[in-house]
């Protein structure tokens, strides 16, 4: 980060770091920038092969030559052939063949490849293979192959040699065996090396017959099962020589239709172990009463967690705060402050909860649950310890009663009294923590790691930096995100992130999520916070609701806009439309013109009333104290009405902006009035823009 306060580029930093770690590495065998003639011919042939799987041969040839017309109703991989003539042909074909090949070889089975998230598995489902109806198993001509194989004494080769062959096969890539190429390996053992010549009909094949009794007992057992078309026999041979099931089938199969399962280097014992497992997969459905049947909300939470895990959302963001279930001596956690705020911000607890909070255990201790963040040392970034006076101490310091300061993120009861989010940190005695249980936070490691770093950086510019402010520059905790943001906005944001907080030192990257993944995450946040989703109705967003408010309070939106633009309030820090306050970016706050897309009305209303109740570390002050409304010159009304006015303005900002806009200056003047345009045009514009902000800076 530069001293000017400019934001660094983490991607560039990462690239610079990675490029430094080559240790003399030089690229070798770099493909030429353009294809050779042979390569191009091979590419065309491969493309033809895949196209013929989709179209008749003549059509495939035509598509390859001329591409597909713009209006072609084609979906799938072949879409790339639309507009082929105008595109870079080699690039289109390489993309097409590459994608088809990845699909054929099922590379996505092991590797995470964008675009193949929903691709089908390469093999058959094994979950209930152990009870699969044998009549549905394709034994093909494998019995003939095995008899032929055994009769010619190849069974003995299925040891190390076969394994070695399998390795070769895997290394070569099993798709690389063209008919001619595989003929070279016809004499070797191992199903992976079976080529067209071995798999094709031969005149003497059917003459071979072998009885199960004539071979060793194990082989005989499985041979008998194979001849009897039983699962054990099929599986045995499938693991020995997977592609032997193409025996005498290749004449009717295209190259791409052949079996693709590689031959794994199992010995007989390992093969039997795998068979035992697979045959045991009978997928007996559990009794319905034991089947987990989550509620839709719980299902949304689970689905979202999968996506959050996959994209490591928790690497940067805290998804769940620390929780301490503690047992404490009464009145050892300090005393509550008097509640002196808007009534709707009061903590809500049932009489039963209060009663439970006052119930002592056998040792005379009370129990409570604290959800929040440990206060971190601004220099080390490690959780702070303090003594009973709140003075920081070392964790191994003697002669002090260790306490841990906790910044609450959820209202709780201590000694039967509410402790609210946004109040002073609680100093929790270490013995109270030890007597209970700690559930660590989920996620947020990077934010915690960077906490002391950004403070140190900022200190170079501003020696008076306040440590708590640093949380506002880091990836924010996403606790409460569901009740905070509108689901459609979050879905869109996840697909295409954009800067929100000017003060942030890191920008959220684009993860190339699929829409369904973004939806899963969106629903996750709403579900864990108990918010409505995916569709939310809030009357405050209705035009009729706004009209009613404007009837009740004259100049409802105009008054609110006067508060926003007054030099005491919002524009001190917030971007508003095309206005950006000057100064250190660390002191800038999000664009108010986009709040109506992003935030839920109820959240905005309560947030304006007291931001700390929702984000305990925020630097945003209470602008309209509950007992001291802002000047009536700006908005006529009490504090709650003024908060309501601001909320309505922010949630209808687009509507308000439209009202300020007039087309008059763009329209040709009516006939006969042209002469007066010079005077009236600019006046109209000036009067339409009744609210002026002095300083205009590009965002």
């Amino acid at each position: 980060m530069a001293k000017s306060g400019s934001v660094s580029d983490p991607a560039a930093d990462a690239v610079a770091y990675l490029m430094q770690s080559t240790e003399g590495w030089e690229p070798k065998d770099i493909p030429a920038s353009s294809l050779t003639g042979d390569e191009r011919q091979a590419l065309e042939e491969l493309a033809t092969l895949y196209l013929e799987g989709r179209f008749p041969a003549a059509k495939a040839s035509d598509v390859l030559k001329n591409g597909l017309p713009e209006d072609a109703a084609i979906r799938g991989d072949e879409e790339v052939f639309i507009g082929l003539a105008a595109a870079e042909r080699d690039e289109v074909l390489l993309n097409y063949v590459g994608k088809k090949t990845i699909g054929k070889l099922a590379c996505y089975g092991c590797h995470d490849i964008p675009g193949f998230e929903d691709a089908k598995p390469a093999g058959a489902a094994l979950a209930d293979w152990g009870r699969k109806d044998p009549s549905r198993i394709a034994f093909e001509q494998v019995a003939h192959f095995v008899m032929h194989d055994l009769a010619h004494g190849k069974e003995h080769a299925h040891g190390d040699e076969a394994a070695e062959d399998a390795h070769h096969g895997a290394a070569d890539g099993h798709s690389g065996h063209g008919p001619d190429e595989s003929a070279d390996h016809a004499g070797t053992t191992g199903a992976d090396s079976l080529g067209s010549a071995e798999l094709a009909y031969r005149a003497d094949d059917d003459s071979v017959h072998l009885s199960p009794e004539s071979v060793d007992p194990d082989t005989g057992y499985f041979l008998e099962k194979l001849l009897g078309h039983e699962r054990e026999g099929f599986l045995w041979q499938k693991l020995r020589q997977p592609r032997s099931y193409d025996y005498k089938k290749v004449e009717n199969k295209s190259y791409n239709e052949r079996y693709r399962m590689p031959q794994f280097p199992f010995d007989a014992k390992q093969r039997e172990a795998v068979m035992t497992f697979v045959l045991g997969l009978v997928a007996e459905p559990p009794a319905p009463e034991f089947v987990y049947n989550p509620t839709p909300r719980e299902q949304a939470r689970l689905d979202g967690l999968v996506v959050a895990e996959r994209f490591n959302c928790g690497g940067c963001h805290t998804l769940q705060m620390d929780r301490w279930d503690i047992a404490y001596e009464p009145e050892t956690l300090g005393f509550p402050n008097d509640f002196n705020d808007y009534s709707f911000l009061r903590g809500h607890f049932t009489p039963k909860q209060v009663e439970q909070s006052l119930r002592k255990d056998a040792k005379g201790r009370l129990q409570t649950s604290l959800v929040g963040m440990p206060v971190l040392d601004p220099e080390t970034g490690k959780p702070q310890f303090v003594d009973e006076d709140g003075i920081p101490v070392e964790p191994d310091e003697e002669d002090v009663v260790l306490h841990r300061p906790v910044m609450l993120w959820k209202d709780t009861l201590v000694d039967g009294e509410p402790r609210l989010v946004g109040g002073p940190s609680l100093f929790v005695p270490e013995d109270a923590i030890q007597a209970g249980k700690h559930y660590p936070a989920k996620g947020g490691e990077l934010a915690r790691l960077l906490f002391p770093v950004v403070i140190e950086d900022e200190r170079e510019i501003n020696p008076n930096v306040k440590p708590d402010d640093a949380w506002g520059w880091l990836p924010p905790p996403l606790v409460g995100e569901g009740t905070k943001v509108q689901s459609p906005w979050l879905h869109k944001f996840l697909l295409n992130p954009h800067p929100i907080r000017p003060a942030a030192v890191l920008r959220m990257p684009k993860f190339n999520l699929q829409s369904s993944q973004a939806a899963a995450l969106t629903d996750y946040f709403a579900s864990v916070d108990g918010a409505d989703y995916p569709y939310v109705y809030d009357s405050r967003l209705d035009d009729s609701s706004l009209a009613e408010a404007e009837t009740r309070y004259p100049e409802h939106l105009e008054g609110a806009m006067r508060i926003v633009t007054n030099n005491n309030y919002c524009v001190k820090c917030h971007l508003v439309g095309d206005y950006a306050p000057p100064g250190n970016p660390k002191a800038l706050a999000p664009q108010l013109g986009r709040v109506h897309e992003r935030l839920r009305p109820e959240y905005v209303y309560e947030w304006i009333a007291n931001p700390k109740r929702f984000l305990p570390y925020t630097g945003m002050p209470v602008n309209i104290p509950h007992d001291k409304p802002v000047s009536q010159d700006l908005y006529v009304g009490d504090s709650e009405q003024q908060v309501g006015g601001l909320t309505d303005l922010l949630m209808h900002f687009d509507e308000f902006a439209k009202r300020q806009f007039s087309l008059d200056s763009y329209l040709p003047p009516p006939a006969g009035e042209a002469a007066s345009v010079g005077q009236t045009g600019p006046q109209n514009v000036a009067s339409a823009t009744s609210i002026q902000i002095d300083s205009r800076v590009d965002n």
Partner: protein
């Protein structure tokens, strides 16, 4: 929380580290352990003996303290009368010129006429070498002479800086947080829930609800260079050294040991604890010293010299 103990156990209360043995249970265990140790080395090993009298007294004491409110008991006063403590901090080093702060907002007010704002974290009197803004406060008091004053303290901000870089108030005493500037400021007091916008020329009242262990920061998020410190004490036994380094704390409880905490923003001690080489005061690395004052005594600690290496930067 401290237990009210029977006279025979007071020795244990003093002997053991008070913080570790503040619970009644802890004190009870101490008593039992003391009885065991008292058997003496070399004497025949005997089983524990029941001391009915001690147990009865202990039970009575516990019942009494429990009735008084869950084991809580008032701090026992050991002395009578009142006394005064005074002194003066002098800085032995040569302070570097204060750094100019980066003022990049509302410059028409904050940098009016080319005015510059400077870091006020180290203020040393040029002639007396007095060190200002050192906080001295009593850690625990058994009794308090004066009621909580209800007249408002003034905490003002003008020209985009806090007029009082370090201010002290008593818990419950109203503080008028004023903004003398023609632009808005917010006053964000750490360790409290107070963070209010104070419009131009306006003020609001903040009443500290609980005491602070050490001074806490007061900032303005709109103008990030603005910073001050505040310290709130239940008993009001707190002083901030003046520009000449002097301080006075009157009406302290006399006749009993008092422990003071000393703090300065730039101290190299942990979290600002200011440690001085004053063995007679048992001044430790945590910036604390102990003293017992006599009734009506005015104890002048004289010049308390702060070496250059005790202050960072």
């Amino acid at each position: 929380m401290r237990c009210r103990l029977v006279p025979g156990l007071i020795y244990m209360e003093e002997l053991m580290t008070s913080n570790l043995f503040r619970s009644c249970l802890g004190a009870t265990v101490c008593a039992v352990l003391a009885a065991s140790v008292g058997c003496g080395a070399g004497s025949p090993v005997e089983g524990p003996k029941v001391d009915v009298a001690a147990a009865t007294a202990l039970r009575a004491s516990l019942a009494e303290s429990s009735a008084a409110g869950g084991g809580e008991a008032e701090e026992q006063s050991q002395g009578t009368g009142w006394a005064t403590l005074k002194g003066s901090f002098t800085f032995l080093g040569t302070p570097a010129a204060p750094k100019a702060l980066v003022v990049d907002k509302d410059t028409e007010v904050c940098s009016k006429g080319g005015m510059k704002l400077y870091d006020q974290s180290l203020m040393v009197d040029g002639s007396t070498k007095g060190l200002a803004n050192v906080v001295v406060f009593l850690r625990k008091s058994s009794r308090v002479k004066a009621e909580v004053p209800q007249e408002k303290l003034l905490f003002d901000q003008k020209n985009c800086e806090f007029m009082t870089p370090v201010f002290a108030a008593r818990v419950g005493q109203p503080v008028s947080v004023k903004n003398s500037d023609p632009i808005g400021h917010n006053t964000n007091i750490s360790g409290t829930s107070f963070n209010q916008l104070i419009p131009a020329g306006d003020s609001t009242v903040f009443t500290p609800g609980r005491e602070t262990g050490l001074p806490v920061s007061v900032t303005c998020n709109i103008h990030p260079w603005m910073k001050a410190y505040a310290v709130f004490r239940e008993d009001g036994y707190v002083a901030v050294s003046a520009a000449d380094g002097s301080f006075t704390i009157p009406d302290l409880p006399a006749g009993e040991p008092l422990e003071f905490q000393v703090w300065h923003e730039r101290s190299t001690g942990r979290s600002g604890a200011l440690s001085l080489d004053q063995p007679e005061l048992k001044w430790n690395a945590k910036g604390r010293f102990k003293i017992t004052l006599k009734e009506n005594e005015v104890r002048d600690l004289g010049a308390l010299e702060v070496p250059a290496d005790a202050i960072s930067g």
